[in-house]
């Protein structure tokens, strides 16, 4: 079974400003302070797709596989693996001597317990588990996964960092059940020290970390914890985030307003890190309950929108956004498609008005929850609201903090539309954009079939055709409303070396030059 190979163009597209001086020797020590958009809603990575949780916790927890530079799956906690039985049985041989932060060695029972929990609770996990017959520990260092059908996506699913299949100790999994885990113990290069809500999440170097021996490649290979401590500080105010990097209070600030790019370039001590692409901005309608469960209203919503001003308001700098209908990005030529492009960015108020009329819409308020912590979400919603109200919608825009939004979106009776971004994802089979179980509850019979087929198929060309079909249904049924692609901007101080701006944002192999 071939691991899906991504085009080298993708790696090239992940352009960053050069931060590492290749000739310089890394040095250990120091505290890295990272300014984040706000509080993480939880620290249990199995339970949420919120990117901020992954950006913090994947220094603490690890997955069985991870991505290399080209976003192919390579082993991390796994040593070797074999695939037998026509691709239906995976034997994963674990590395030995990998310690958890509380001292115990990681063995197969921990992996089995964690994987089962992930398959039960995580959005990509649930998707993948449809194809899983069973998981068992064959011996202390071997895990067997039995699939119903061969899969082109299993390893990618296990490698995925967001809402990832991270390995917890069995006893912690058992104690938590379906509730969030109470202790945060993993195998990663940093261990969890403390979480003071609204102050910081503090991680410290794990001295007994079992690093891989190979040279670092992408997110794999050797992970070295150079800095002593990492402090993730919630700074909901983007002005303060950037200003803090300018003055040196934080060494790294995530999610900087894109129109600050020119300003950052003039700052002597700061480097702008561009994440291209970061994701696509979207409004997620509620298919399960409420006004948006009516297809005509959804279609009216989609038809009324003019994407250019929406994206311009949110991202400012033209170099940082792009109007494109694809569910995947042009940087991913093996997945990108322009299917149903006529339904994207329609700018058709007449059509929207007619659809509203047909649906018998009587001016009931559409509850749209958004947040200012991701500035662009708020601005996108604001401009979209103006356009929608021009065709007769009544929009009740509710602005809350991100952690509240992530909690509230789980309740179908609480909202009609919510703002979010679908972040870059190398493997569409687990994309939240097309997931039925994810808030929005877009469950469409044909689409589910195509998604399942996508998970099992191994031929890249056939997979691409399937994803295109999903995209067509996405537009026709208005699964989500895509607004546009955007690129991310981070601000990094010059003394931070080895940092590669990516969506996932890893801080291992990063050191402070002074």
């Amino acid at each position: 079974m071939k691991i899906a190979l991504l085009s080298p163009m993708l790696a090239l597209a992940l352009i960053t400003s050069a931060v590492a001086q290749p000739s310089e020797q890394p040095r250990a020590g120091g505290v890295l302070r990272v300014a984040m958009i706000g509080e993480p809603p939880t620290l249990d990575l199995h339970t949420t797709t919120a990117v901020i949780v992954q950006q913090i916790t994947w220094h603490v927890y690890e997955t069985l596989f991870t991505y290399d530079r080209q976003y192919n799956a390579i082993p991390l906690l796994v040593d070797t693996h074999t695939v037998t039985d026509n691709g239906r049985t995976y034997l994963l041989r674990l590395r030995r001597g990998v310690k958890f932060h509380h001292g115990k060695e990681m063995t197969a029972v921990d992996v089995v317990a964690s994987l089962k929990r992930w398959g039960r609770l995580a959005t990509p996990g649930k998707q993948l588990w449809k194809n899983v017959e069973g998981v068992e520990a064959k011996d202390p260092y071997t895990v067997a996964m039995y699939l119903k059908d061969s899969s082109g996506a299993l390893l990618m699913g296990l490698a995925r960092p967001n809402n990832g299949a991270v390995i917890y100790p069995k006893e912690i999994v058992d104690a938590a059940g379906d509730n969030a885990v109470k202790e945060f113990v993993g195998t990663g290069p940093y261990r969890f020290v403390e979480h003071k809500p609204d102050r910081h999440v503090r991680l410290a170097r794990f001295k007994e970390y079992a690093a891989r021996t190979a040279a670092p490649e992408g997110f794999g290979g050797r992970r070295t914890a150079y800095v002593d401590e990492i402090l993730f500080v919630p700074v909901p105010d983007v002005a303060v985030r950037l200003a803090g990097v300018e003055t040196g209070e934080y060494q790294l600030a995530m999610q900087i307003q894109q129109d600050q790019y020119e300003r950052i370039k003039t700052m002597p001590a700061v480097v702008a890190g561009v994440i291209k692409p970061e994701g696509w901005s979207t409004a997620v309608p509620n298919h399960k309950q409420g006004l948006m469960s009516d297809k005509r209203i959804r279609q009216a919503f989609q038809a009324a929108l003019d994407a250019e001003p929406i994206m311009a308001a949110g991202f400012g700098n033209k170099a940082f956004y792009r109007l494109d209908p694809g569910l995947s990005f042009p940087e991913q030529p093996q997945w990108h498609s322009r299917a149903s492009a006529d339904l994207y960015n329609q700018k058709n108020p007449a059509k929207a008005k007619k659809l509203l009329q047909d649906a018998g819409y009587a001016g009931q308020p559409v509850r749209w929850i958004t947040t200012k912590e991701y500035q662009w979400m708020y601005k996108n919603a604001l401009v979209a609201k103006q356009q929608l109200e021009a065709v007769g919608f009544k929009i009740d825009l509710q602005v809350v903090d991100w952690a509240t939004l992530v909690q509230r979106r789980n309740k179908p009776e609480a909202w009609d539309v919510f703002s979010t971004g679908i972040t870059f994802n190398p493997e569409p089979a687990f994309s939240t954009a097309a997931s039925c179980g994810w808030p929005g509850w877009w469950c469409h019979e044909d689409k589910e079939q195509w998604m399942e087929a996508l998970a099992r198929e191994t031929d890249p060309r056939k997979r691409r055709a399937m994803w295109e079909k999903v995209q067509q249904i996405f537009y026709e049924d208005v699964g989500r409303v895509k607004l546009g692609d955007f690129f991310g901007l981070t601000a990094v101080r010059k003394e931070v070396r080895g940092y590669q701006p990516t969506n996932e944002s890893n801080l291992w192999n990063v050191w402070l030059s002074r």
Binding site: A243, G244, E249, A403
Partner: protein, 314 residues
């Protein structure tokens, strides 16, 4: 004197009861039932019902009220929904920055305001007076958050003398702490100093016209003795009153300024509690701040015993 002190202390009790009642009522005037508000947007109907029984929210109003008083008397301020820890703990955790900021701001306000007021009074109706009072009037007209933003623009962004935001805890060294609190303290303190200056000036003016001052001058006492020994001491009463009030205003002003400068104090705590509808925290912070305010007022009243001999004989 003793009766004065005792009377003042006793007068606190009904006020404390009202404060506690107001804090209690807050959660009941919100639309929706308190249990589902406390349980949060994530809870199921069963969770809400369980919480209702657990917190005794199904009891009649007056029973709930008395139970609330009891809990407060024991120092139990409840549990924060979002932070998942006792409210009192969260408050104590956040108190350091707010206390330091308020104290610093008060020092700034007094050091700027009292001398300004005294000087203005001494040079009554001359240019110094006009200028200082014009300045003071502008000072009380500028919102502290606006002043904060302007200070950031000039002193942090342009000049780089101070950090733009954030707070350096004491454990990392008091110099860094002072540096991080300077701009916020000035944003708060300058506005307050204007008020103090105005009051100090009019208090001084009133006193300077008093009989015993005229008599003192007639006696031939030096100007300095007149002003500083006699007048100032008597002008202290309204001035101390205003300083006491200033402390309360500064505490509340720090709520706003903490947002501008991203300082993790009580102000940020209550604002994020409001945005998250974390009522136990709102109630707890409100009670604590009112409590501090009451104690400050008490201290000011008791200080009259020192400054005003007439009080001792009441």
């Amino acid at each position: 004197m003793k009766t004065y002190v005792v009377r003042r202390l006793l007068a606190l009790i009904p006020v404390a009861v009202v404060v506690a009642t107001v804090a209690f009522v807050l959660i009941h005037i919100a639309p929706g039932d308190p249990a589902s508000i406390i349980a949060g947007p994530d809870a199921s109907p069963d969770d809400v019902a369980r919480l209702q029984r657990q917190l005794g929210l199904d009891a009649p109003f007056h029973v709930q009220l008395f139970r609330w008083y009891g809990r407060l008397a024991r120092g139990d301020l409840g549990q924060s929904i979002f932070l998942r820890r006792p409210v009192l703990e969260a408050i104590v955790d956040r108190a350091e920055p707010t206390i330091l900021l308020t104290t610093y701001a008060l020092i700034v306000a007094v050091l700027l305001g009292v001398p300004a007021g005294v000087v203005a009074a001494r040079h009554h109706d001359e240019t110094a007076d006009q200028a200082l009072m014009a300045g003071a009037l502008i000072g009380i007209s500028i919102p502290n958050f606006l002043l904060g933003l302007l200070l950031i623009l000039v002193f942090s962004v342009r000049l780089g003398w101070f950090p733009v935001a954030g707070y350096s805890p004491l454990e990392y060294g008091w110099v860094a702490t002072l540096r991080s609190l300077t701009l916020p303290a000035f944003a708060l303190g300058v506005v307050q100093s204007a008020l103090i200056a105005r009051i100090a000036r009019s208090a001084m003016l009133d006193v300077l016209r008093e009989q015993f001052i005229v008599a003192g001058r007639a006696k031939g006492l030096g100007e300095r003795a007149v002003v500083y020994k006699h007048a100032l001491k008597n002008a202290m009463i309204p001035t101390v009153t205003v300083i006491g009030i200033s402390l309360a205003i500064l505490i509340s002003g720090s709520v706003i300024v903490e947002q501008v400068f991203n300082i993790p104090g009580l102000g940020r705590l209550i604002i994020s509690a409001v945005l998250r509808r974390d009522y136990p925290v709102i109630q707890g912070v409100v009670i604590c701040i009112a409590g501090i305010y009451m104690l400050v007022n008490l201290a000011v009243d008791l200080s009259y015993v020192v400054f005003d001999p007439r009080v001792r004989y009441q």
